[in-house]
Amino acid sequence: MKVPVNSRMDEVMQSIDQMQPASPSPHFKAKVLNSISLLARSEPVLLLKPILLMAATALLILMNTIMLWSAMKPSTDSTASNEAANLTQFSKEYHLTNYTSNLYDVQQ
């Protein structure tokens, strides 16, 4: 006997109303809770990671700045100290202590 298309269609459409909600496997809850406790334990490390990264970057920038500054400073220092040494020598030779110290102050 041939079943009419419309009644066949109705049967198919109604099949969803006779459906029970599907459940996951019995060990699903344990699996989820286990993953959550693992996540909770790794969370502080995960949080610490960007902080450590930022601190390392800041340290690197600071070290770079110090290196640049110190690379520039000795050259100016040495020029100044050389000039001061020359003036001291000059003042010793010509007994011009006050004059040279004044000049040195101007240099500073």
Binding site: Q14, M19, Q20, P24, S35, I36
Partner: protein
Amino acid sequence: MAEPSDFVDLLKSGDQHAFAQLVDRYQQPVYNTIVSITQHAQDAEDLAQEVFLQVYRSMGGFRGEAKISTWIYRIAVTKSLEWERKKKAKKAIGYFKNLIGLDHQADQLAEFHHPGVALAHKENASMLFKAMQSLPENQRIAFVLIKAEGLSYQEAGLIMGKSVKSMEGLIQRAKENLQQTLKKHYLS
């Protein structure tokens, strides 16, 4: 299903016992929604697990503007759709590989049997789920939430961000489209 605010506070503080209660309460609706959208029982379980992990991670940002159930359903629907998009992309790559002779295995869609269907209705339900694959995304999601999950039009509307009237329209169109697909199948 309204959640008391102290329960939400416990969840926000990362209380594992409260979270166990939440999993107990929502594991079935989350899994049922995902399995009905993805039509893949094994992957649905993995996705349901991802939903609860996402809920745990994002609980701090939950502002309580919507019910927890609405929020969890939204995450479940989003994860299912993401899974579908990834699968479609993989399928396209597989098709291309097949075309140039790199992969000889064609990706065949296995017949889906919803775990909640009784043996007597297995064939009909399988036919319906196959027809559901041809529905536009929003009609299919509305149909799953209201017909398979048994939510009210209002609850489903809150999950999908649509009014009750829009939901009624979506369900009406979904039914018409399903009937057309089934008619074509039986007359061919």
